[in-house]
């Protein structure tokens, strides 16, 4: 789809403008070197802007050169499944929201269930069981064996304090 390529090219351009704007606020004094912490950011901003223009030029003149073919079958794909994409995203956001509060085990199990659902699973009980056991195993391994702190959350009464 050319439209997506145009949108992505414009996204790169916009990113370049954003980087340039932030760079403008960075100090330029740099001691003996004569260049400050804003020099390389300026080079990167210029590079991104230039690449954005180049990508847009290719997108507007017949599409990106040597890019992915338009026909999904040639890319080994079916049509975009928004549901699958959203289930996985929901799982990741669910984990972000839950991890500090419900703890690692529960949030990881929620993520597990949502991702499995995104890949077409309809067996909620099986996914929940596997997700919980796996998350619990990881939790115990990291907290008890590796001494890496992970939040126990709601399961704290059962698991005891995190991190020993």
């Amino acid at each position: 789809m050319r439209r997506a390529e145009i949108a992505l090219s414009i996204g790169v351009l916009a990113l370049g403008i954003g980087v340039a704007a932030v760079t403008a606020s960075l100090p330029s004094e740099g001691g003996y070197a004569g260049i400050g912490p804003n020099f390389i950011p300026a080079v990167v901003a210029a590079g991104i802007l230039l690449l954005g223009v180049w990508l847009a030029y290719e997108a507007f003149t017949g599409g990106w050169r040597g890019g992915a073919p338009d026909d999904p079958a040639m890319r080994g794909e079916h049509a975009f499944r928004a549901g699958a994409f959203l289930w996985i995203s929901a799982g990741l956001f669910g984990q972000m929201a839950l991890i500090g509060w419900a703890g690692f085990v529960i949030s990881a199990a929620v993520l597990f269930i949502c991702v499995a659902r995104g890949f077409g699973s309809r067996r909620l009980a099986r996914d929940a069981a596997i997700g919980l056991v796996m998350a619990l195993g990881i939790y115990l391994f990291f907290v008890k064996l590796l001494n890496v702190n992970l939040p126990a959350g709601w399961l704290e009464p059962v698991l005891g304090g995190a991190g020993i």
């Binding site: 390529e5 992505l8 790169v12 960075l26 740099g30 003996y32 070197a33 004569g34 400050g36 912490p37 020099f39 390389i40 950011p41 990167v44 590079g47 991104i48 690449l51 180049w54 990508l55 290719e58 990106w64 050169r65 040597g66 890019g67 992915a68 999904p72 080994g76 794909e77 079916h78 499944r81 699958a84 994409f85 289930w87 996985i88 995203s89 990741l92 984990q95 991890i99 690692f104 990881a108 993520l111 597990f112 991702v115 499995a116 659902r117 995104g118 890949f119 077409g120 699973s121 997700g131 796996m134 998350a135 990881i138 990291f142 590796l146 001494n147 890496v148 702190n149 992970l150 939040p151």
Partner: protein, 496 residues
């Protein structure tokens, strides 16, 4: 002979029971994760990095060497049995290996891959042992200007010369360079692109970027575009034993492939992709059984697999002696060094003799472990391949988020991970390579430091980069690499 003494000393380190154990654990875990379809070596190393946080540096890096080799071997098993190359370097193996499996010869295909990997890995490690001290001697004469020129050279070859599109490769590289700028500027203490977020002041962690691009991005992509497409797994039938003919056709291929793979690994040529294809083409040309190619010729598995391992070892030469990663996997390994405050390069050979030579010795040990572990355990790896996709990706994402979260115990890192996942999804879908971004993130800040150091020494005189002969020739070579293909294309267009 100094190298030999150092190596013997290194064996003393690598063969300590605990270090041997870490090597063993690394190979096993690396193979297990590497076998998982859709998980390449870069992601394997990134996902397993959090496991080593509490180890001493030597043990951790020895474990990593094991993971690195295990991941390579695991990937080839998947390719041969499932025909879904986890990484571009396995595509050549897929051509013949999967056909052999279809013809009921999965056993010999896996055997030639394992033994070939061992032979090539060991020969390449010998070459590494001999070559590394020589490179270190040269590198000790390098100043900041030379390092900077070398890094620019690596950037351009990895991003612009390799791959299907110069502009998309460079875009990926610049995204990586931008991410590398996030955080506190090491020279002045100035915060850049962190927007006051404490998690960003530390900079973007290479594990979060790699796991975001390779695991979250891949999961989003496969679920949205490829779920439900069926894959056929080939049965592991027949014996693992190679016939006399298999042996006599395999060993010349292993040796040729080592000679191709190792040199390619040592230069910034993007790792294993080119040498595996070169090896495949060589075997196809030299074979006495051309009619078998495309139907399952054993040379077509033996060569690329050996080339892959030889190149993977070659990649360690610039990584250890110069501190320059030339593949995404090597960039993550460099991140592992940095986690321990170690900067690979010539000085590491002076200051951390135990660690460096222990690591090199553990490569020999790792190859042996790989050989004795993998063929007997092949039945287990086949079972791993049977894990259904929904559970597989759910498990991968639990592990991926764990690595990101354990950095600061903060959900902000999970959000960053998701953003990188969206990026990885878009890059996968619209054919933008991800390797240059990972290399840019890790190498960008080092290049900036060398650049500013060079200018500090010269009191702001930018001509240092062109008046030092080594730096000047590297930069000239870089310019040629960009211009020559353009000129060639232009001439072709005007002459036709």
């Amino acid at each position: 002979m100094e190298a030999l003494n150092a190596l013997l000393h290194g064996f003393g380190v690598a063969l300590q029971p605990m270090n041997l154990l870490w090597g063993f654990v690394g190979v096993t875990l690396g193979t297990f994760v590497g076998v998982l379809p859709g998980v390449g070596p870069a992601l394997t190393v990134a996902m397993l990095l959090p496991l080593t946080v509490k180890l001493d540096p030597t043990g951790a890096l020895i474990m990593f060497a094991g993971i690195y080799y295990g991941a390579m071997f695991g990937g080839s098993t998947t390719t041969i049995l499932l025909n879904t190359p986890g990484e571009s370097a396995s595509i050549a193996t897929a051509l013949e290996g999967n056909r052999m499996a279809k013809a009921g010869r999965a056993g010999p295909a896996l055997a030639t891959s394992a033994i070939g990997s061992f032979v090539a890995g060991t020969l390449a490690t010998i070459a590494l042992t001999l070559l590394a001290p020589l490179v270190v001697n040269v590198a000790l004469k390098f100043g900041p200007a030379e390092y900077f020129a070398l890094m620019v050279f690596a950037f351009i070859t990895v991003a612009a010369v390799l791959g299907s599109s110069t502009v998309r490769g460079l875009t990926s590289l610049f995204l990586g360079l931008l991410l590398g700028l996030v955080g506190i500027d090491s020279q002045t203490g100035q915060s850049r692109f962190a927007f006051g977020v404490p998690e960003l002041l530390d900079g973007v962690d290479v594990v979060v970027l790699a796991v975001g691009l390779f695991a979250v991005g891949e999961a989003l992509y496969v679920a949205a575009y490829q779920s439900g497409l069926s894959e056929k797994m080939e049965k592991m039938k027949g014996s693992l034993l190679m016939s006399a003919q298999d042996w006599s056709r395999s060993w010349p291929a292993w040796l040729r492939a080592t000679a191709i793979g190792f040199p390619f690994g040592t230069i910034p040529a993007g790792g294993s992709e080119i040498p595996t294809f070169l090896s495949y083409a060589t075997e196809k040309k030299l074979t006495r059984h051309p009619e078998e190619f495309g139907k399952g010729a054993i040379e077509g598995v033996a060569g690329p697999e050996a080339a892959n391992n030889a190149a993977a070892t070659g990649v360690l030469v610039p990584l250890l002696t110069l501190g320059i990663p030339t593949s995404a996997t090597a960039a993550i390994l460099l991140g592992a060094f940095q986690n321990y405050g170690l900067q690979p390069g010539p000085l590491l050979f002076e200051t951390q003799k135990d660690l460096v030579w222990g690591l090199i010795a553990s490569l020999y040990v790792g190859n042996i472990i790989l050989l004795i572990l993998n063929l007997p355990l092949i039945g287990i790896w086949v079972k791993v391949l049977e894990i259904p996709k929904d559970l597989l990706y759910a498990g991968i994402l639990v592990f991926a988020t764990l690595g990101a979260y354990s950095l600061h115990q903060s959900w902000v890192d999970l959000l960053t991970l998701y953003v990188f996942g969206l990026l990885g999804f878009a890059m996968r879908r619209w054919d933008i390579p991800v390797g240059p971004a990972v290399i840019g993130l890790i190498l960008g800040p080092l290049a900036e430091t060398q650049f500013r150091r060079a200018l500090s020494i010269s009191q702001g005189d930018a001509s240092v980069f062109v008046t030092h002969p080594i730096s000047a020739s590297l930069l000239a070579l870089t310019v040629l690499l960009i211009i020559v293909p353009w000129l060639a294309r232009w001439f072709r267009r005007t002459s036709s």
